[in-house]
Symmetry: C2
Subunit: 312 residues, 2 copies
């Protein structure tokens, strides 16, 4: 009898789904819209429905489903319980229990940033390693840590909340979390644009950057590739902050590899080499050779990681 | 047949030994001197000898030894291999293999700061929890992290090297590790004295502290308890730095409890409450209630943790 695993990554707009073999090979992937009406109360039943349909149409009658892995955009405890998912309209919710009742299949739940890290380990740039930390540089800064092949959920579901590491004592603006001086305020795409706005206003360096609608993290990196003085300085400071923070994290968990993902990571080599340069400066000698890599799975990291929770 | 475990903590001066029941109860503890002659090449055979003697004299003939846990003052890989122990005169050494050959008993090896953390979990202030981070504030700043009951050794044996987290960009003096601005340069007993010397020279606040032989971390705290202005300010800054750094660590691994040990921790409540105060300021909201406690096992943490590696 053939055995399969489903990997499901619930985002604010779409639910990404993957059907995998029992050894973790992707057979098929698809998406359904995230139904956020009625405080997201239809999301799990619609996931159960799409899984039920796939079982009927795409795999032979005589099969077994080992489990469903689910990623959610919020903190998770015990691989089951969601404390709060603002983006989905959820308060406290036993996602594993509800989806198990709807499908009759064992379910494991993980935070989206954490499962992305596991995904990169299972089938991305961290393949073959067992200890990895990932930073997702997007609208915010997400983080995920996998040690001994297991996601570090944390006592309060706040393991890998790398975006909220305090990095600046002099910040006057507040982070979304309420604190002042979080990594996310500088290292997210939004954070880089915020830094650029300040720098353009101060106009200490020559630049073709303007504080208008064209200003984005991607544009700043594009200009830095063209050797624009201010853009280059911004990218240098950006990479320095990330390299330094990663060096701090290495002193805590000393992973085999750091993975940089999210929209900003599309900036590629210039981002990576700048981070690496400063990591070498600030890291403890024993871990100075730790690899730093760009994520390779993109939007598929979630379904691979969700599947990986079942595979483990 | 009764079963036993040995826990051995090798320090630069003495080797602390403990005989435990199979459920982890301490039956007896003793010490032998650390023989550092000939590059420490007699240390393991003398440990084998003292264990052999105990087996003959203190436990009935008909018994079984489950294992020997060993703590060493240096990085360890795979619970077996020591890369370097400067204090003992050791270069790379397969401690587990050598001691197994000498005793015929399975051996597991851990870094001393890491096993102290495990010891506090097994029988100290972290009893009952499975996720703990410990800072040892002594001549240096050691660190140990235990997640899911397992020591986080790190890919290069540098897991829990909390003392070398970079915390200051403007430092001009070098840390023992070669970097500039490591936590240890401020948060060790030596570091606190160094800060005190600078502050006494600058003389910005009234104080009865003097830059002479009486100046020590313990004395600075004693003066702070007496409300000496400069000593109070030094303790405030000391606790702030530790609270902030612990908050950063919480964003990475979100443990259930932080444990503060080492000589400086004898300063007690004033140290603890100052650290707690600043942890609440800098921590991410989800982990803000994380407990911070003073270590309770003192010098016995090592033998308990060494035993704990076998118990796990």
């Amino acid at each position: 009898m053939n055995k399969y695993i489903f990997g499901v990554d619930i985002g604010g707009t779409t639910v990404k789904c993957g059907l995998f073999t029992e050894s973790g090979e992707l057979i098929e992937k698809w998406e359904i819209p995230t139904n956020r009406s009625d405080n997201g109360s239809h999301i799990l039943s619609e996931i159960a429905e799409t899984i039920s349909e796939k079982r009927k149409t795409d795999i032979g009658e005589n099969h077994d489903i080992i489990g469903i892995g689910v990623g959610v955009p919020g903190p998770v405890q015990g691989s089951r319980l969601v404390k709060k998912c603002v983006n989905l309209g959820w308060g406290e919710k036993d996602v594993a229990k509800e989806l198990e009742e709807l499908t009759g299949i064992p379910v494991k739940v993980g935070n989206d940033a954490n499962i992305a890290a596991l995904g990169e380990m299972v089938n991305g740039c961290g393949r073959g390693c067992r200890n990895l930390a990932m930073l997702t540089l997007g609208t915010g800064v997400g983080g995920g840590i996998v040690l001994n092949g297991q996601i570090i959920e944390g006592a309060d579901g706040a393991g890998g909340e790398i975006g909220h590491i305090h990095v600046n004592d002099t910040e006057t603006e507040s982070c979304g979390c309420g604190n002042k001086g979080c990594l996310e305020q500088y290292a997210s795409a939004t954070g880089l644009v915020r830094m650029a706005r300040k720098a353009i206003m101060e106009a200490a360096l020559e630049t073709s950057l303007k504080d208008d609608d064209t200003l984005s993290a991607a544009y700043i990196f594009a200009k830095a590739y063209e050797k624009d003085a201010l853009a280059s300085e911004l990218v240098e400071e950006y990479g320095k902050l990330l390299g330094k923070t990663i060096a701090q994290i290495a002193c805590v968990i000393n992973p085999e590899v750091f993975v940089i993902g999210g929209g900003v990571s599309k900036a590629g080599d210039l981002l990576l080499t700048t981070i690496q340069k400063y990591f070498r400066v600030y890291s403890f000698h024993a871990s100075r050779q730790t690899e730093i890599k760009l994520a390779t799975l993109g939007n598929d990291a979630g379904i691979y990681g969700a599947m990986g929770m079942i595979l483990n």
